[in-house]
Symmetry: none
DNA sequence: TATGAATGAGACTTCATTCAT
DNA sequence: GATGAATGAAGTCTCATTCAT
């Protein structure tokens, strides 16, 4: 029982630590989580994708839930930043929204709300709150934009937060498989989504 | 939960539980799948919920993917039927849509597209096609309704299939936790969703 | 991902179920636990010892703590039964106690109290209580015997439950490695223990 | 726990924490090992408790077994020293034993023999011998005391080493949880143990 | 002197699936 | 028609240990 078996554990002799392993784990795991969801992504898969061992991932993050939370928070921060860059450009609201949609459609992602429901049993209340806040940051940014547009008369009066939710919901239509989707290309999808977002169905009689 | 209560007066609903075990498995598993997703629902849980053994479930369905497919197809059929009943009533389009939204918001469900992506690795192409077709039935029904409304001038010209997708995407906003949701009640959510669906943001300048 | 790999899981084609697998798991695991303690005995080891798979053990017991509890309770029941058989024989108290000691010394066992402390974080309160009760049964049996002896004047007045604990504590001396032990044989150990139990150090001045 | 409190007047106890890290590791790890056993105490926990990193512990001790051995040897030396101080005081044997019992009952400890069996697979023969010798030192001290008492006629003739083992075995009764224990307080336990140690059960007929 | 980073081995547990009755 | 018993594969997590700085 004391005999050393063929290979001793421990840090390997040499390796070219590309630079920041923790950042890389976060970057890759966030992509995987967004694409496949929480449960489907195993720590083995993440470790493999990063070229390290499972135990190394656990060195940086105490458990899967913590890694997930960190991934999501970081990702949401990035998304918020990129979205802000686009929205700050000059141009009419529809023009800028179209750019946002185009940017979104390039990354494959599951429904964020579904994912949050999925991880609910695994994360602490603090972690849940952190993710909600990160998500809220994006909605806040969008809502601010809509509020601006309202004050300029670009769009009609409405609950800006609701508009943000509606916008993100419509975004998901564009991400669907071409097989099911009513569109034949990403561009077409982006145009249709924004057009609908701006004017809805043009219904004649507004309900009262 | 399985104990027969006092015995309700009148003709038994379906002929006691005994007769059609397969139907009951389908009914319960479809509920579970829609609420929690594919992977989270174990065959043990389904068997328990039905009061039978796991092996019995395998007697009726060759594997989990087949059970899932059958559940979804059946469920989609039911949804299509119920939706049709609502849409066939008299009244303006917004009025009827509001009824549809209210009906949807009463059942908790995950995003259907997310679920389809989740099961993709487990099902055969035929099963995938069957589920897509079942889903398509609902979209077809909705599209038909929109086509009608267009011909009557109730709403503006647009791709009816796209409108159906947009409608179902907006539906998901209403299902969110109150914590995150911009609404304070189901009723309010339903009204806001339909209002937005009909008129969008009232944007002034339509892009051309 | 759908391709069947070399070997399908499931029940193997044939096997000569010796008789009662659950009983055998209990029998073997109780032996292992008593000899090595809770943490040191892995479920792999138990499964191997029983000639079944780890998953089979989990079929009968939901988790390690439950298996441990069941093992201990069963074992304590057996010990109580065997001890009672010995104590019910005719003969003086010291004679019968010597038989009990000899029987104990044949099985290797760790300190029971240490083991209970070890499992404490893993078991529920109910499981803990069950094990305490099983242990208490043995102490109760011993205490009853001592009470009898007191009423007959065979031994002096004392707290019978304390005597039981003292007796079991002394038993552990006999189980020690010969290297450390002050005895050269099991027989000698048994005699010395009972002799000491009966008369202590023969101290002249009793403290008051 | 590491914060320097107000500053006690007088000469500092040992020369601040800085100087002798190795000693501190030994002191803390011995406490942890005695309280929880070998396997349950991880090197991470020890390092945390000492305010250093795991790697630092490895700087001083080649592996866990070596640290454990050193801890035990040191601890046993301390115990031997403290016990000797008590036994060298004036007074009758029972009086002095009672003091020893009281001192022991203040520190929580697992059964030492159980621990030795637990580490057996991890330590070398030399390490095992070292620990046995350290333990033997205490038994030798006790045995010497008993030998003295015999020569003075304070207690009857018996194997002094056996008496030492018996004494340490009885000590463990006092350490048990109050729930199981037949005593209601530490003092009561100490008195009962020593009383029993001196006179046993007062059995009438001594076996021959 | 001390440590941050990394790892192989192994532990417990879950689950879809199969076979014999 | 239904089920009890059994299993392989995979997943999360812990830990002693090692190396380079």
């Amino acid at each position: 029982m004391n005999k050393p078996s063929k290979r001793q554990p421990g840090r390997p002799k040499t390796s070219d630590t590309s630079q920041n392993v923790k950042e890389q784990i976060l970057a890759l795991s966030s992509r995987l989580f967004m694409e496949h969801g929480y449960e489907k992504v195993s720590l083995d898969a993440i470790a493999d994708a990063c070229g390290v061992t499972k135990a190394s991932v656990y060195y940086y993050f105490h458990n899967k839930a913590e890694l997930f939370t960190a991934s999501i928070v970081m990702l949401m921060g990035n998304v918020r930043h990129q979205t802000k860059l686009i929205l700050d450009r000059p141009g009419s609201l529809p023009e800028r929204l179209r750019e946002v949609v185009r940017a979104y459609l390039q990354v494959r992602h599951s429904d964020f709300e579904s994912m949050l429901r999925e991880v609910r049993p695994h994360v602490t209340d603090e972690q849940m709150a952190a993710m909600r806040q990160a998500e809220g940051g994006i909605h806040e940014l969008m809502a601010e934009t809509f509020r601006d547009a309202m004050s300029k008369g670009e769009i009609g009066e409405a609950n800006p937060l609701f508009l943000s939710h509606a916008f993100s919901a419509l975004l998901m239509i564009g991400g669907r498989e071409l097989e099911t989707s009513p569109f034949s290309s990403r561009e077409e999808a982006a145009d249709a989504i924004v057009a609908f977002f701006c004017s809805g169905t043009h219904a004649r009689d507004l309900m009262e």
